[in-house]
């Protein structure tokens, strides 16, 4: 049962074997509090925003990441993922690990999990999929369009828990990390044809592309230390409108108006050794 963890006891060997689980070279940004990466803009007169949050879980025995998207004014949670250590109920019980992945609010299978070098690893992902947004009406010059919109996305998550158990338990620590690879692309389309005039809105927008990872050294008697790594491109793309008129003599449509309704190079966030500079 992957999502709720593997109930076999974590071996004391994990203390020795779990060296590479969270102290990776990539995680060089560290903090004691959560991190939020957010970008906002406007599209077709409505709010456009994406927010990524990386933090420890409420119990502070794991880490979690969430991605919320606001598109054409409506908010939806694209991704929620967490991994958490659940202490045992007795001193002989080393505890277990839990990992969850929710996509669009739906719990998705994350697999059984496996042991690797003293860490327990869960991996989950989904094939590309799509979320439709409610239809909005948008006036493009003289033409009132009904706009179809939505977000297509693809998500993968890798979660890891590494216990460094010691006795007494107060000297133990937990390493937990969750890495989310996510790509989400928003689309808008609207079209109308009136004999000699037609109009439309179209385009795609990279809502989010890249990965974010949060890793935490969790201690039983002090605040956790969080490390972040990742590179994310947010809100990049162009949405355009057009109005065409029909030329009978040329027997073809001619573009009469071609406004750019949204155009942004986007914002790149890089942390933990990553870089947004491209060569």
């Amino acid at each position: 049962m992957g999502h709720s963890g593997y109930t076999s006891p974590f071996l004391l060997l994990a203390m020795v074997a779990g060296l590479a689980s969270i102290s990776s070279a990539e995680a060089t940004d560290s903090a004691s509090t959560g991190k939020t990466i957010e970008e906002k803009n406007r599209l077709l007169g409505r709010d456009l925003a994406v927010k990524n949050r990386y933090d420890t879980t409420a119990s502070e025995r794991g880490v979690e990441t969430t991605t919320d998207v606001k598109f054409l004014g409506k908010n939806r949670t694209l991704l929620e993922s967490n991994v958490e250590y659940i202490p045992g109920e007795t001193t002989n019980d080393p505890g277990s690990a839990e990992s969850d992945l929710y996509v669009g609010g739906m719990r998705v299978w994350t697999g059984k999990g496996r042991f690797e070098k003293g860490s327990f690893i869960y991996e989950g992902g989904i094939a590309p999929s799509q979320m439709a947004w409610p239809i909005v009406t948008y006036p493009l010059g003289p033409v009132l369009l009904q706009i179809d919109a939505g977000i297509s996305y693809e998500v993968g998550v890798e979660a890891r828990v590494t216990p460094f158990l010691s006795y007494p338990i107060e000297f133990s620590s937990i390493g937990a990390s969750v890495k989310a690879n996510a790509s989400a692309s928003g689309y808008v389309e609207g079209y109308a044809n009136f004999l000699v005039v037609r109009g439309g809105v179209g385009g795609e927008l990279t809502v989010l592309d890249g990965y974010g990872k949060v890793a935490a050294d969790i201690y039983f008697n002090q605040k956790p230390v969080l490390n972040y790594a990742g590179k994310l491109t947010l809100l990049q793309g162009r949405i355009y409108g057009f109005v065409d008129t029909f030329n009978v003599f040329g027997w073809k449509w001619k573009r009469w108006w071609n406004p750019t309704l949204f155009s942004w190079d986007g914002k790149c966030w890089a942390f933990g050794g990553e870089s947004c500079v491209a060569f």
């Binding site: 049962m1 999502h3 709720s4 963890g5 109930t7 933090d55 420890t56 409420a58 119990s59 502070e60 908010n75 949670t77 659940i86 839990e98 996509v103 739906m106 719990r107 998705v108 299978w109 992902g125 989904i126 094939a127 590309p128 999929s129 799509q130 979320m131 439709a132 009406t137 006036p139 010059g141 003289p142 033409v143 009132l144 009904q146 297509s152 996305y153 693809e154 790509s183 692309s185 689309y187 079209y191 109308a192 044809n193 009136f194 004999l195 000699v196 005039v197 439309g200 179209g202 795609e204 990279t206 592309d209 890249g210 008129t245 029909f246 030329n247 009978v248 003599f249 027997w251 073809k252």
Partner: protein, 548 residues
Amino acid sequence: MRRLLIVSAVTASAALALTAYQLAPPSSPFVIPSENRVFADRTPNSAEELIEEATLFRTTYEFKRKIEATLSGKTLTNVSYEGTLFVDWKATSDLGKSAVLSFQLKQVPDQKAKMKIRLDRDHRLVSVKIPEGLSQADLDAISILKDLVSILAYRHGEDSTGKYRFTEKETQDVSSKETVWTKQKIAYESKALSMIRFLKSHHETRTSFGTQTPVYFRGREETQLGATKDSLFTVSEYTLRKKGHEETALDHAQDSTIWKESKLELDSSENIFARVDWKEIETALPLTGTLRGPERLQFFRKTVKALKTDPSKTKALRDWISRHRGNAKMASFGIGALATHGTPEAQKELLDLFSEFGKTRQTKSLQHTILGSFTTTEAKLIPETRTFLSELAGQKETDLDLAMNATLAMGSAMKKEPTAADEQRLGELAATAQDREEKLAYLDAIGNSGSANLISVVEDHLRSPDATIREKATFALRWMESEQATGLIVRSFEDPDVRVKSAAVKAVSYQKDFSAYQSMLATCVQKPASEKIGDLCKSVAQAQHEAE
């Protein structure tokens, strides 16, 4: 000989039909006197009249159309076109008529178009067919023919598309009070609703068809689009003058054109966003293994559109997935496209792939990918898929992982379309949970379903001594909209375990009606159990405020 055969056939059928034939004018608010109709009253009065109708004949019209479009008073386009329309008629056995229309345009002599129409015995348009394999330019040319057909196929009131509305009033002056009032009324409607189209035509001369008298037909149409101050206004004037009516030797039964049914719509151009040629997809599919990020998603959307354009390609994509089962990235792309397309055929192909992949260990992960796609797709699952998931969910002994994954997909299907059978099944399965992990899985499935009918299962688990189970049960309430669910979420917020509190706040963020939780959120913000919980409550409260 042919003429004799036709006459014999029509006479024979007419003899049978005459006794039963009655002209039954359709009910309509717009009752047009028969003399105003374009076509003569169709009741055959004699066999001779039928014989005349049975003969192949050609009516030739001259047509002219002038279109002026203005935007905010400025001229957008001012064009006119003219040409000759040929209508080749013959009678049909049901006392209707069929005709092949073709035209020649003076301004664009190379541009030809052809269309076949069929009228019933009341001279109403029954079907329209256009040749297969037309180019976009030809389709645009068809739009002219369609306009002409709509003038010819005069109806009592509205045609089947509802886009044309002919009135019996003859008005010379378009700025008359009635016209202005009508425009205003439509303008009001367009403000309240989505875009509309208004067409009004005025017939100045009564016409008749099938006689030797000259026919002169003139009309004027006005279209007002939208209701903004920049309203686009088009005015078009058309004339259709009958030039000849004579027998013809043409027999369109010899025509080798492949016709396909078409709807009589004003707009022949298709939505430029909607269609994607499968050839484009076929060429690029091998690249899906290398595409990443936004490019991959853009191609994914094109693939889904191509399936919608040509649903027969569902099988082709299924076969492609099967051939590339060794490449998880490529196979998952195809699986995602089929699931997003979501038609019954696509779902059946996915089920077929599932059983094919089960034969080797290597492709086991693809079975999980298919189940995951059933979980995330927004398409409603067909009964066959739901039965499959329900049966697989019960096969814990055979493969626990697949069973649990199928249960999650079952829950998701119930969220889109709840059924009593699935609710009962999920409740029964949840009752069989033997250990903690199974309980958590079933709570997840119930959460996916949002089914308030399963709330009793959730409530039982809210009393569990295990905080992880209480946390999962609390979050399972997120999509349940009932007083009982609200009460349980608020009660869970009082739970001593901070994870359960957090799950309660997260569940609130999924609820449609926040009003019942305002007190809970306010308390949470003012006196949070932890800084983290307080931040979470602030975030949810802010989202609620923005939504309002």
